[in-house]
C-alpha cells in the first residue's frame, strides 16, 4: 500500500518538476531562434500595425532591412493596439522585453523617467540622427536632455473646405479663412438654413477636434508645460471658451448632435455630401474623401489664427520607435531604428500608407512623389507646410493625468452648467494641486 503511495507522489513530483522546466523555456527559445537564423542576431520588433494596409508596408521595410544585413535579422510581432503597451510593460518587468517597440510619442519622457525605455544618448553620441526630424517631435522624446525614442510618424490638424460651396455663395475658392473672425463670417455665408435644421452648415469648431486644440491655437503653448507651470486660468483660454460657446448657441444642440453622429459614422460624413462646408481634421482624412467622395472639390488650409499675426498653431501627435530597458540586443535594435527612420523607409511608408512621417526630407519628398495623385500631393504638401506650426502636447511629468481634471470642467462649460471663468479657476486649482502632489 505504502509503496503505491510513494509511487504516486514520485510521479506527482516529477510532473511538477517537468512543469517547472517550462518556466525556463523563454531563454531557450531565444537561443533557438538565433541558431535558426544562421548565427544572426534576432531583433524582436513589436508594432500594432496589423491592418491589411499597414502590415505589408512595414513587413516590406523589414525585409529590405534584413536583406541589407549580414549580422541582424528583424522579426516582426504584431500586437493589437489595446494590448501592446501593457504587454511591453509586463515584459520589461519580467526582464525579457522585445528589442524595438512602437510607442506613443507623448509619454516618451515619462517612460524615460520611469526607466521603461532605454536612454539612447550612447548611440546618438556616435551617430547623431536628431537633425532628421521635425524639432518639435525630437523635443518630445527628451527627458533631462537625453532622448528615449526616435520619432517615426506624426500628424497635424488642417482645415478642409468645400470649394464648390465657396463659389456658390460668392467666396473666392482660393482664399480660405485665415482668422477666427473670417471663419465666422464665411460660415455665416455658407449656412443654409431650412426651418429648424440646416441643409448646409458653414462650420462648427468642435467637429473633428476638441476644445484643447483651439486653446492651443489661441495661446500658442500647452496648458501645462514640461516644468509643471499651469496656464489654465488665462484670459486667452476664457476668450476661447466664450468663442466656442458662441458657436454652440448659434447652431443649437439638436443640429450639432445630429451632425456629430453623422461625422462619427464616417461614411456619411456631411463634409462628403456638401452638407458641411468646412471641417478640421488630420491630413489622412484625405484618404476617406478619396474613398467615399472622390468627386468632391475641396481645398485645404492651415487652421485660422485667433487674431491676425497670432500664428496658425495646430496640434499633432505621433509615434516613436524605442528600445525597452533590458533589451538583449540594443546595438542591433539601434541599427534597425536608424533604418526605419531614414529617408527611404520613411518615404516608402509615407507614400504607401498616406501617412505623415517624422523625417523631414522624406516628408518633403513624399509631397512631390509621382506615385500619388495630384490631390493627394496637395494635401500632403499642406501637411508638410503645417508642421512648423504644429505643437505636440507631451505628457507633463508633474501632472501626467491632468486631462482627467480639466476635461470635466470644460464639459460643464459646454453643457452650460458652469461659466468659463469659474470652470477655468477650478481646473487651474485642481491641476496645481496635482502638480504639488507629484513633487
Amino acid at each position: 500500500m505504502f509503496k503505491k503511495g510513494m509511487l504516486f507522489s514520485l510521479i506527482a513530483v516529477m510532473l511538477l518538476l517537468s512543469g517547472c522546466a517550462g518556466f525556463q523555456v523563454g531563454s531557450d527559445k531565444g537561443a533557438a531562434l538565433e541558431a535558426g537564423a544562421e548565427g544572426k542576431v534576432v531583433v524582436d520588433f513589436w508594432s500594432f500595425w496589423g491592418s491589411e494596409i499597414r502590415r505589408p508596408v512595414i513587413e516590406k521595410i523589414i525585409e529590405d532591412f534584413n536583406n541589407s544585413q549580414d549580422e541582424i535579422v528583424v522579426k516582426h510581432t504584431f500586437v493589437p493596439w489595446g494590448d501592446i503597451w501593457t504587454k511591453e510593460l509586463a515584459s520589461i518587468a519580467a526582464g525579457d522585453p522585445p528589442d524595438v517597440v512602437i510607442n506613443d510619442i507623448k509619454a516618451t519622457a515619462l517612460r524615460g523617467q520611469k526607466k521603461q525605455a532605454m536612454n539612447l544618448s550612447q548611440f546618438l553620441e556616435k551617430d547623431d540622427i536628431s537633425e532628421r526630424f521635425y524639432p518639435e517631435l525630437w523635443e518630445a522624446t527628451l527627458y533631462e536632455g537625453d532622448s528615449y525614442g526616435v520619432p517615426f510618424n506624426t500628424d497635424t490638424r488642417i482645415l478642409y473646405y468645400n470649394k464648390e460651396a465657396f463659389k456658390e455663395v460668392g467666396l473666392d475658392p482660393e482664399k480660405p479663412p485665415t482668422t477666427w473672425a473670417e471663419l465666422e463670417e464665411y460660415a455665416a455665408k455658407l449656412d443654409k438654413k431650412n426651418g429648424d435644421t440646416y441643409d448646409r452648415l458653414g462650420f462648427y469648431p468642435l467637429f473633428g477636434i476638441n476644445y484643447d486644440v483651439w486653446m492651443l491655437n489661441a495661446a500658442g503653448q500647452n496648458v501645462v508645460d514640461n516644468k509643471g507651470n499651469v496656464e489654465v486660468d488665462t484670459d486667452i483660454n476664457r476668450q476661447t471658451l466664450d468663442w466656442l460657446l458662441g458657436w454652440k448657441e448659434r447652431y443649437g444642440d439638436n443640429v450639432i448632435n445630429s451632425y456629430k453622429s453623422q461625422i462619427d459614422s464616417q461614411q456619411s460624413n456631411p463634409f462628403f455630401t456638401g452638407k458641411l462646408a468646412m471641417f478640421v481634421n488630420t491630413p489622412t482624412f484625405n484618404t476617406q474623401i478619396r474613398d467615399y467622395a472622390p468627386e468632391l472639390d475641396f481645398g485645404v488650409a492651415m487652421l485660422p489664427e485667433s487674431e491676425p499675426g497670432n500664428g496658425h498653431t495646430s496640434w499633432g501627435g505621433g509615434f516613436v520607435a524605442e528600445i525597452p530597458e533590458g533589451s538583449s540586443h540594443p546595438k542591433e535594435a539601434w541599427e534597425f531604428i536608424k533604418y526605419l527612420t531614414d529617408q527611404d523607409a520613411q518615404e516608402y511608408w509615407a507614400v504607401k500608407n498616406y501617412d505623415n512621417v517624422a523625417n523631414i526630407k522624406a516628408a518633403e519628398a513624399t509631397a512631390k512623389n509621382a506615385e500619388m495623385s495630384e490631390k493627394d500631393r496637395i494635401v500632403y504638401q499642406m501637411a508638410v507646410e503645417n508642421m512648423p506650426n504644429t505643437l505636440l502636447t507631451p505628457t507633463p511629468l508633474q501632472a501626467p493625468d491632468f486631462p482627467t481634471l480639466i476635461n470635466p470642467e470644460i464639459d460643464n462649460v459646454m453643457l452650460g452648467k458652469k461659466t468659463p471663468t469659474k470652470a477655468l479657476q477650478d481646473a487651474q486649482a485642481a491641476v496645481e494641486r496635482l502638480v504639488k502632489e507629484n513633487q
Partner: protein
C-alpha cells in the same frame, strides 16, 4: 486492526492532497502570491520598472484624503452597482417566470432572450453606442414615435450611467437561465397543494416560487454585486478611453487602470485595489450574514 485503519486513512488523505496539488500550487503561485505582493507593494511607490521604496501608508492617505477623483470614481461605481444589481436581478426573475409558462413557441422565445448573453464584448458596446445615439439612434427614434423627446444618453452626464444600466438589462439572459433551471426544480406538488388550499396565483408566486428559488437569487446577487464593482470595459470602450462627460463614467477600476498603466503609479493603483477589496469584502460579509434570514434551502430545518 485499528492501527492499520488509521494508517490507511492517513494515506488516503495524502493521496487526496497529491491529487489537488496542482490546484494548490496554482493558487499559491498565481493567486495568493500576487495578492500578497500587491498588498506589500501598496505601501511602496512601486512603478513596475525603476522604483519600489517603502513609503508607509502614504498611498492610502493620499487616496482617502487628497485624491480629487477617488470619490468621483467610487460614487460612479456605487451608483452603477446600486441600480444595476437589483434591476438585473428582478429583470432576470421576471423574464424567467414568463418563459416558464406553457405557451407555444417557448423554445423560440427562450433562445431570443438568451441570445444577448451569448453576444458580448466590444461589439455589443459599439452597437449600443449607435442605438443610443441622440440624433439617429434607434432608441430615441422609437421614443419619438410615442412623442417622447429622448435624452442625450451618452453625452449627458445625468444619463450616461442609466445608459449603461439599460445596456446591462438587455443581457439579463445569463441570469435568466439560472432562474429558469431552478424554477423547473420547484415541485409541482407544492402548487397543487396550494391550489387546493385556494391560494391565488400571486400568493403561489410569493410564498412558493420565490422562497424556493432564494438560493439562486442569493448566488446571483452576490456574484453580480462583485461583478458590478469591477465594471471597466464598458466605460473604456464607450468613452474612447476618456471618463465620459464630466467624468460621469469614470469608474473605480477604470481610474485604477489609468493610475497603473497611464501614469505608472502601480503602488497607488494597488492601494486602490485593496480599498475596493475591503469594500466588496464587507458587503459580501453582510450578504452572507443576512442570508439565513431570507434564503431557504430545500429540506433545511427552520430554527
Amino acid at each position: 486492526m485499528k492501527k492499520r485503519k488509521l494508517h490507511f486513512k492517513r494515506q488516503e488523505g495524502l493521496v487526496g492532497y497529491i491529487f489537488i496539488l496542482p490546484w494548490i500550487i496554482g493558487f499559491l503561485i498565481f493567486t495568493a502570491g500576487p495578492l500578497l505582493f500587491s498588498l506589500g507593494a501598496s505601501f511602496t511607490n512601486y512603478n513596475i520598472t525603476s522604483q519600489m521604496d517603502f513609503i508607509g501608508i502614504r498611498n492610502y492617505e493620499k487616496l482617502l484624503m487628497d485624491d480629487q477623483l477617488f470619490w468621483t470614481s467610487l460614487y460612479n461605481t456605487l451608483y452603477y452597482v446600486a441600480f444595476s444589481v437589483p434591476l438585473t436581478t428582478i429583470g432576470a426573475i421576471f423574464l424567467s417566470v414568463l418563459l416558464n409558462q406553457d405557451v407555444p413557441g417557448l423554445r423560440f422565445f427562450r433562445t431570443i432572450y438568451y441570445l444577448p448573453a451569448v453576444l458580448s464584448g466590444v461589439g455589443v458596446y459599439l452597437l449600443w453606442m449607435q442605438l443610443l445615439d441622440p440624433g439617429t439612434g434607434l432608441i430615441n427614434m422609437m421614443l419619438g414615435w410615442v412623442g417622447i423627446d429622448g435624452p442625450n444618453w451618452l453625452f449627458d452626464p445625468e444619463w450616461t450611467k442609466p445608459s449603461l444600466i439599460l445596456m446591462k438589462l438587455w443581457s439579463v439572459g445569463g441570469g435568466m437561465l439560472l432562474y429558469l433551471a431552478s424554477l423547473q426544480g420547484v415541485p409541482k406538488s407544492l402548487y397543487e397543494a396550494a391550489e387546493i388550499d385556494g391560494a391565488s396565483t400571486w400568493q403561489q408566486f410569493r410564498y412558493i416560487t420565490i422562497p424556493m428559488i432564494t438560493p439562486v437569487i442569493f448566488f446571483d446577487v452576490v456574484t453580480s454585486l462583485i461583478g458590478g464593482f469591477q465594471i471597466f470595459q464598458e466605460a473604456y470602450v464607450m468613452t474612447n478611453g476618456g471618463g465620459g462627460p464630466v467624468n460621469s463614467l469614470l469608474f473605480y477600476n477604470y481610474y485604477m487602470w489609468n493610475k497603473a498603466f497611464k501614469v505608472f503609479d502601480m503602488g497607488y493603483a494597488m492601494a486602490m485595489s485593496w480599498v475596493l477589496f475591503l469594500i466588496v469584502f464587507v458587503l459580501t460579509m453582510i450578504n452572507l450574514k443576512l442570508a439565513p434570514r431570507w434564503v431557504h434551502y430545500e429540506g433545511e430545518a427552520k430554527k
